[in-house]
Symmetry: C2
Subunit: 505 residues, 2 copies
Amino acid sequence: MSQQLQAKLEQFLDLNKKIKSYNEAIGLLHWDMSTGAPRKGIDTRSETIGMLSSEAFKLQTSEEMKDLISFLKQENEFAALSDVHQRLINDCKKELDRTQSVPAEKVREFSVLTAQAQAKWEVAKEKADFASFEPYLSRIVAMQSEFIDYYGVKDTRYDTLLDMYEPDLTVEKLDEVFSRLKARIVPLQEAISQSVHKPDTSFLKQSFDIKQQSEFSKYILKEMGYDFEAGRLDESVHPFAMGLNPGDVRITTHYYDTDVASAIFSSLHEGGHALYEQNIDSNLAGTLLAEGTSMGIHESQSRLWENMIGRSRAFWEHYYPILRSYFPNQLENISLDQFYEAINKVESSLIRIEADELTYNLHIIIRYEIEKMLFNEQLDVKDLPQVWNEKYKQYLGVTPPDDGAGLLQDVHWSGGDFGYFASYSLGNMYAAQIMNTLAKELPEYENYIKEGKLAPLKEWLTDKVYQYGKSRKPSELIVAITGEELNPDYLANYLENKYKEIYKL
Amino acid sequence: MSQQLQAKLEQFLDLNKKIKSYNEAIGLLHWDMSTGAPRKGIDTRSETIGMLSSEAFKLQTSEEMKDLISFLKQENEFAALSDVHQRLINDCKKELDRTQSVPAEKVREFSVLTAQAQAKWEVAKEKADFASFEPYLSRIVAMQSEFIDYYGVKDTRYDTLLDMYEPDLTVEKLDEVFSRLKARIVPLQEAISQSVHKPDTSFLKQSFDIKQQSEFSKYILKEMGYDFEAGRLDESVHPFAMGLNPGDVRITTHYYDTDVASAIFSSLHEGGHALYEQNIDSNLAGTLLAEGTSMGIHESQSRLWENMIGRSRAFWEHYYPILRSYFPNQLENISLDQFYEAINKVESSLIRIEADELTYNLHIIIRYEIEKMLFNEQLDVKDLPQVWNEKYKQYLGVTPPDDGAGLLQDVHWSGGDFGYFASYSLGNMYAAQIMNTLAKELPEYENYIKEGKLAPLKEWLTDKVYQYGKSRKPSELIVAITGEELNPDYLANYLENKYKEIYKL
């Protein structure tokens, strides 16, 4: 490598590090707001976050960044770089191109619009008043559509949006994947709803001491290999995981004193996200590759731990007696089977975030189909409630009493986040596909889980997924691990096997 | 005001706000490191703090800042500005002049030196090995002396250092003040040490549940008017107060399970600092004037609440029965008088931070005299141990067994902070002088305290001290409140009255 190239590369890496430093500060300011910052400091705090975000954005789109990238992308120079550095440069270039393609005043206009829309959405949801939100949502869809033209239309207009969250994922692929998944889980869900077997979940809703819940969450996180010397567990209204730096990956949960399951499964979920970020190869530290490679792969790791491990019978064979020792009075008459069935109860419902792991995918497919109609088929925003309600009736057999429990339930669209929802189901499908390979390569894995030995699973996942961070694309990663591209059959197989047994179908 | 002036002023205020935003982020990153950030994230975290600090410094010394200040300082323009804006500009100019006067490479050299020296100091203190620290301290004194030349020598060389912490304070003034104080408290301390009356403090050292201690600290903070919606109480190794923004002024304390007094008085102390910052006039928000006006005035507010209110008999007449209800087993046989005397026990000792409110001032006077010798009388650093030990013998009648319990006990000098120590005693003297005026203007104040009505005191202090933030100099403030400049007699009077009664002299 020439001396000039070396110098330019170092300058580029320093710039990366500086952006990461801004992101760490911004992350901590957000974390703090969610975990106990005093109410009266919030306004000034928000301005501080705004200032730092704008500084980070300036660096990402600075002349220095542009010059460095165009130097490093020269054929001879680029060829002399390592694979990781090439990917980092490509990533920054992709981001830069996207940002530069939209006029700055449009970006500002969109950020003002979405800020207003989120405030309007909150009230509209509360009052179940779609009419008051509709003009904002129409404007957001129109602007997002303009942005698609600026970014460049991929196979279809909606493809451009999907690619922002899951690089290289296409409508063609998702249509096929979701239709195969739908074909198997809709009948499964119908069979379950007709089954006379109805697990009793009432005992999950007794009074459970929050201090004990918190101790159990910490215990379970330690068991799965979450490193408390490189993270911490706090409480917030909505649970989240946040990687501030490789040695500081925090998670939050939320405790309900009348619900023992919620905090356990949100700890497992966020713990899965955190294991990913805690175990990224240290060579990537300080670069923008030291994060999850896509929303879908990130979600696969949270759902793998929450559902495929955390809601398995093997897991509770070991951990249920321990949970019972935390809550002897509440659980003394509840058997392992009763507990296992209760935490796996399937029920069609109206609200995505409360859905079980089977019907959850139907909530996502509905949103995917609607978003595709909005951007590829000119569905009018004002017709959304009708389409929404029809699809809920068709796929889940339920109809929202009003739009508050219908299409106003999610925050995403008010922020312009179209193309994001698919990630949640991608996570489920990736997770099942990865677990299928894990089962082959680690044939003893169920026995490990039954013995409370989770370390071999974490190590396998580190080896296959975690260590690479963003240095491999999701499509490359899934092929490298499982030998084939995204395949929904693994999720369908997993769900059928599990629920036919539980519901005696 | 001309349109141009208006525009320049706004630009200047925006720059101020941006610097404040950086400071808020840096503050939170520090707060987080002291209150529970995971160990493995510390290295990256420190780099992040370094990056943000350097960005804030760049703004403070930017060409933009220089141009704005020189525009705004033009005679005609300056005259058209409000008093607050004039002071803000003067403050920024003073800081800028100081920074610009020292060559950048000297600043870097000094910051490397002090970073190394602090690491050396820690080990040297631990091992009571002055010889290993001496070369670093000599170099720090030499460089600080060079800086004095760059900054400009005031009346004496040491005056230049004092002015950095307490604007306009002089050696001439402090010599007079400390000699008058010494003349009265040295005999008082001697009389006490010869008194046969020795308060029993052993009951303060029983086992005290930390959860209960924390509840009591929160209760006391609420009583003094600390606003928990604009702050929070956490635990750290060394207690501190930190104003992140006007609506977010945090404090920490430290709980010992074998000591009930430590956390109470550190909560009162940090609570006093916090009341100051929570009650600065909102017109100053977002400017560099929204902080305490000097170290000495800040310390006066912590000590006024910790000692003059918090260690008064009136205070515990109301609060001791309440404290006893938190710890019925430990305190049931302890009377109010016993408790009052125990928390006011005077004893000559070797360690400043463990000293009582009387002898504390002697620890400070010793440090003041030694610093003055270092900078004004060419005292050689290698002679420090001998001078230190002689002065401890002379003023406090004790001799350190080694330098670890002697001149190595404090961190300040390893960081180059000469001129800072005086602030602690200034705080005591300002506090007594302010309390003397409060007693005249609020003659019922002792009855208020006895009834647990602390709000009128907080309101009076807000009116006289807090609201002004840094918009009045300490010397102006003390004259405006009390009608005279700093006068040590009020502290001497207060200490004599209080301790003659306790020690039956």
